[in-house]
Symmetry: C2
Subunit: 168 residues, 2 copies
DNA sequence: ATCCTGAATTCATTTTTTGAACTCAGTTCG
DNA sequence: CGAACTGAGTTCAAAAAATGAATTCAGGAT
């Protein structure tokens, strides 16, 4: 992805220095999302939710996450709309809660898939244990940029279009 | 994205309980990637690199990151192949280093774009400050799943195909 | 009445992060 | 020449966060 509108004649070998992001920290959706996802557990919990693990004890056992951390993260993720809390009862036992992925959470799963793609490519030597495939055909899927009408555009042909400059 | 091969006759309203991820923590590219990206700063530094901010002091000023943290993260990111270190000299001054995004780092940018999409949609009320567009046409781009031959598949029609089950 | 279970909460310890001060090698200023 | 400056780090004490073990809590089961 090219960032600057490079003049066709001189793609600067040493690009001119940029000393500031064009977008201020607190006005950047990416930076805000980083607040939510930028910790050791949140993404892993979302992964569990994707696989259908929904209960406190199961999450804890899978992830090895301390209870306090799990409790705090679940609250935060419910608050952010990634998960929703549903009562259930095992046999005749007391009502407990399970944490299910919301539609909004499902839309964040694309972040997981992107991470998975990258991680499988660069953080492992052997073949990955899992593929994302089209349910109907079994065709392997990967992440890409597309136009609204479904044309795939390689990363190299994309650029950032700054609509509103940083105020700070 | 559906996770199970649901029988056409009975899509379970209360899906049967899953108590374990099919993929073990240490065998999951996503989980490994989380080790690298799952902290407050790494993704933000990558974002800076995407915008072309490459120097220690500029990064520090933009992000408000403590020097020690920046130093440690840059080392780690160079080690992981996200950034590369290049000597430069400002005027006649002593040689310093700048940190440029590598091709491998650029491939991780799709993660940033995915985060940006989600963050702009759910973590803000007003219009986002930036768009990802096709350089040639200016067409707005978004993240999607595609087949190898460039057909876009909605998240709902995708599923995880487990090739190798957890050993643990 | 006691034990068990899932879901927390509390709390002391360990780890990580922070921010401020210091270093270092060269540069410019007076 | 010496003083001050610069970018890029290190060092280090203080603050914040994460951990893990023990405790609590509300039922149900024995």
């Amino acid at each position: 992805m090219s960032n600057s509108d490079a003049k066709p004649d001189s793609p600067p070998r040493t690009p001119r220095r940029v000393s500031q992001t064009p977008v201020a920290m607190d006005d950047c959706g990416m930076a805000r999302a980083t607040d939510l996802f930028g910790d050791r557990w949140t993404l892993l919990i979302l992964r569990e939710a994707l696989y259908g693990v929904t209960r406190f004890e199961d999450l804890r056992a899978d992830l090895g996450i301390p209870r306090a951390a799990l409790s705090q993260r679940l609250d935060r993720m419910v608050g952010a709309g990634l998960l929703s809390r549903h009562p259930y009862r095992e046999g005749a036992s007391r009502t407990r809660h399970e944490y299910r992925m919301t539609d909004q959470g499902m839309e964040a799963v694309i972040v997981l898939v992107a991470l998975m793609d990258w991680g499988d490519r660069y953080l492992r030597d052997d073949t990955p244990p899992i593929d994302v495939v089209e349910a109907a055909t079994g065709d392997k899927l990967s992440i890409a940029l597309t136009t609204q009408d479904g044309r795939v555009v390689p990363l190299k042909d994309a650029k950032m279009n700054i609509l509103r400059h940083r105020k700070a």
